[in-house]
Symmetry: C2
Subunit: 85 residues, 2 copies
């Protein structure tokens, strides 16, 4: 039986890479009076629907590959994968 | 005492709005042989550091306001907020 699964992939710039977009958002928020905001980092977010007869482990392995090879640039970005069953 | 909190804001296009970027990623992945991928939706992700003496509830209220008014366009986008204490 085909099961449907949902995966969430979060791609963010590595901590050591300057996130100009996040810095700009942070400064804008502080300029609007939200002084408790210390730092903002912006990233990408993918919601992926999967129809799979395979095990969660197999799906996780495939998606890890996809996330690292295709969705993120491993030179400057980190990615994190969550799977809802 | 000032506590540090981390918040995660996820901004995605509403289900009724065409997500051309997500569709393109989905087609690309399927074209590369990942046939179990049914749908991809792409969104934005913000990691926010907060230095706050206020309660979690107050921070949540402030961030909800920020997320809905500034980070997302409520006409076409949904946003979701998670706070790590």
């Amino acid at each position: 039986m085909k099961r449907h699964m949902k995966a969430h992939v979060f791609v963010t710039l590595k901590k050591t890479v300057l996130d100009a977009q996040g810095k700009t958002v942070c400064q804008a928020l502080r300029g609007m009076g939200h002084n408790s905001i210390v730092d903002v980092r912006q990233g990408k977010y993918f919601e992926i629907d999967i129809a799979s007869g395979a095990s969660v482990e197999a799906v996780r392995a495939e998606l890890n590959q996809i996330a690292q090879d295709i969705l993120a640039n491993p030179v400057i970005e980190d990615c994190r994968l969550e799977i809802e069953e």
